[in-house]
Symmetry: C2
Subunit: 158 residues, 2 copies
């Protein structure tokens, strides 16, 4: 089983924001720090902003900031947000899929219940539980060039 | 979150075998009944045979048969068998992945624990729980041409 790349990327971006809560990062900075391609950073930040997890500020000194404390963002909520449309298997698709064994097969219900258990487990943990090492004192954060240097070398920020 | 296509296909093939325990199905027959592409059926049946879930018999009247009762095949075991190498996210890869937030991030452990809970939930159910409608009296099984007719029209069976 695997999560979507967008879920992986969103968790990385959020965890990087947790690691440096007092430092605004723009799209190029987040891409550099998380290994997420820049065009994906932009789309995922927009989705997180629409859901009320982050705020983006334009202009000099702008960037992305968390709108909630890390302890108030369950991992399960982020996974649900990005995986809402994702089918576990063919018969779990929103259009019912094309498995010839349906509807006389109970597999879909069994898999959905197991997914519910997976998400419930993730609901008991938050971003604060994920990044204990980096959220205290900003230890071990990958070194980034300053925003001014980065903007000069990488062009306009988001 | 999603399961691999091979896991989906393996479950369909096994459930089709549960539905017709007294009728041997060959590769073309299983492909027709499950919607799984024929080359995938062949590979998946080989994997299931190597793991001791099914037996294949060649020649006239040959085909694939279950080697255990459906109640003795947990869904979790099949999912584990086909998803053993599958990483949930980048940092869960066997080679450690390339996420710059590692190793100072606890997300991997949190996701792995949730996956364990997901699989444990599937361990409590078996193939027998998935196909109650079709395993009793072979009701609602998609109509297939007889093996003889099928071999004539579809060429050699495996």
């Amino acid at each position: 089983m695997r999560l979507l790349a967008s879920t992986d990327f969103a968790l990385r971006i959020l965890l990087r924001l947790v690691a440096a809560p007092d430092r605004r990062l723009d799209t190029p900075g987040l891409a550099l720090a998380t290994g997420v391609p820049r065009n994906h950073v932009h789309k995922i930040v927009q989705s997180l902003a629409a859901a009320g997890y982050v705020r983006t500020t334009r202009g000099s000194g702008g960037g992305v900031t968390l709108l909630r404390s890390p302890a108030q963002i369950p991992i399960g909520a982020i996974v649900r947000h990005f995986e809402a449309e994702q089918a576990l298997v063919e018969c779990d698709r929103a259009d019912g899929g094309a498995c010839p064994l349906m509807p006389d097969c109970a597999l879909r219900g069994i898999l959905r219940r197991a997914r519910g258990v997976f998400l419930a487990a993730l609901d008991t943990t938050s971003l604060a539980d994920c990044a204990p090492a980096v959220s205290i004192g900003n230890r071990n954060i990958p070194t980034l060039p300053s925003p001014r240097t980065r903007r000069k070398s990488a062009g306009a920020s988001r």
